[in-house]
Symmetry: C2
Subunit: 320 residues, 2 copies
């Protein structure tokens, strides 16, 4: 399905893959191995695709869009590597994490190297506005991750706090991708704003679906264990629904109070799966996707606009 | 002594401190506390001082130099925070590290936030060349740290490898400070090169002295335990001298082979202290400082050039 959506930018995505591969070409064999392992991991490449699709409405210029698309994917990869250290995650995308294979120290430093590399690539856009946005999106993202860390196992969190947190930790980078694609193709300000908003709404929907799949997905599809948010003490939308429905007593409250964690994670997953909670969460996600599609109305109608709409539809349908 | 050296840029350094303080002014109390703790830690501020001193030879423009000076110090702070996680260090500058007080997860994320913040500040220079240099210096630094990590407890390292590693992990940032100060003050290319080289040589000397002080300093002066390089398996110049002098048997070889680590660290420290090794290492450091001073010959003679020379002298005299 993604192949069809990516069809208008397929050739440029191949070039992004080439650029990601060439990041690993350094004369330091151990670093080279780490870079290859983390950048050829077969992610969905949604963020670079969004840069390229968003850059196709006005003056399409691959000499700026390609480094930007590559930079956004590298920044994303770096933050995943650091996340895996923080969560002590053993598996990502069906493979052992860098921290498990090479140790936490190498994973932290590889993440830092990739952060620096992403910054160097952004400088290739020669666009000061985009360079500043990139730094700010990364600040917002780190802030969102910190908010998640300081609120671990905190039951007193509102839906609004949840939305703010996922906006910071996920939507920031996705709206950076769409906004920068627009800016680098010299889109009029109205279209820059529309694509930024599209990215924001898509990013919120994307994270809500991720949070649903952590309850109803399978380890095989997700490439990582199910219930990992609960294991980390991260209160997501499905868990909030449990708290709202069963305020007196429920497995989420119990596990957040450190009672029989593994057992209560299992019970919480069962409870969500056997309830209407997934459907209600999907309704929230779909609402954000609808907003995202609505944002696109000001853009010229072309194959890329259709791809962006299909991507919004894909985001709620995906199983991984 | 540093006060006298910093005299020509004292007022601007106060402004850098103000800017560092204002980084902590965010509407997220936990983050604000972490930022204050890490940025008000009373470091020597050598890197921002070098940006400001290097920017005083041609068109001095604080609107670009101040954000750059602040950015370099923040990047340095971020890398120290990540280093402390990697080394599991309990103490830095006489205070508990961020990882010890708030945990590894917060320390990694705080480091990332600061990396992003430094990047945002560099964008304020509006200078694409400097933005790119900043990213590249950070890449080199991470690479140097990785080289150190993969070579931990490896006895087969040459003096040249040591110099390459400290050039990457320390001199990169110090020469970034001097080179960017020159560029941002529109120095002629010959002077840019001279200040870059000065920073490189000063940085090498600085790290060699750091490595000596890890043997002959005191915990009180250094603000951290002595012998920490050996404890991490980092082969530094004084340890290399031990290997050269006692190839048959010595405490460094033994501890690197995992024999009675704590005891052999103590023996290695004693051995260095009671030998001519510190003097020989200081001679290497002094040679780099002499080269650094020589690099300054092409610059106009003013109070800042004298400060840069005094700083090179300070670097080998310092006890912390």
């Amino acid at each position: 399905m993604l192949n069809t959506i990516y069809e208008p930018i397929q050739e440029d995505l191949v070039q992004v893959e080439d650029r990601l591969r060439s990041v690993g070409e350094v004369d330091f064999p151990q670093l080279s191995k780490l870079l290859d392992y983390s950048l050829k991991s077969g992610g969905k490449r949604i963020r670079p695709a969004l840069v390229l699709l968003s850059g196709r409405f006005y003056r399409y210029d691959p000499s700026y869009l390609l480094p930007m698309a590559t930079a956004v994917e590298i920044l994303h990869t770096a933050t995943l590597i650091h996340d895996d250290v923080i969560d002590n995650s053993p598996v990502r995308r069906g493979r052992p994490t860098v921290n498990k294979v090479w140790g936490e120290d190498k994973a932290i430093l590889l993440g830092d190297y990739l952060l620096a590399k992403s910054q160097e690539l952004v400088a290739e856009t020669q666009n000061l506005r985009v360079i500043k946005l990139f730094a700010q999106a990364f600040m917002t993202l780190s802030r969102g991750e910190l908010a998640q860390a300081v609120n671990a196992f905190n039951l007193a969190q509102s839906r609004q706090q949840y939305l703010q947190r996922i906006s910071a930790k996920t939507a920031s980078l996705i709206s950076l991708a769409t906004e920068s694609g627009a800016i680098l193709s010299q889109a009029p300000e109205k279209s820059v704003k529309a694509l930024k908003e599209y990215g924001h709404n898509l990013g919120i929907a994307f994270q809500i679906v991720d949070d649903i799949l952590d309850f109803i997905g399978t380890e095989e599809e997700m490439g990582k264990p199910i219930g990992s948010d609960l294991a980390q003490g991260t209160l997501t939308l499905p868990a909030m629904f449990i708290l709202e429905r069963y305020p007196e007593d429920n497995p989420v409250t119990r596990l957040f109070q450190n009672e029989e964690r593994q057992k209560n994670i299992g019970l919480a997953i069962e409870l969500v799966r056997g309830s209407s909670i997934p459907g209600e969460c999907y309704a929230v996600a779909s609402d954000y996707c609808a907003r995202a599609c609505h944002n696109l109305n000001v853009l010229p109608d072309n194959a890329c606009r259709r791809s962006l709409i299909e991507l919004a539809e894909y985001v709620v349908k995906r199983r991984k």
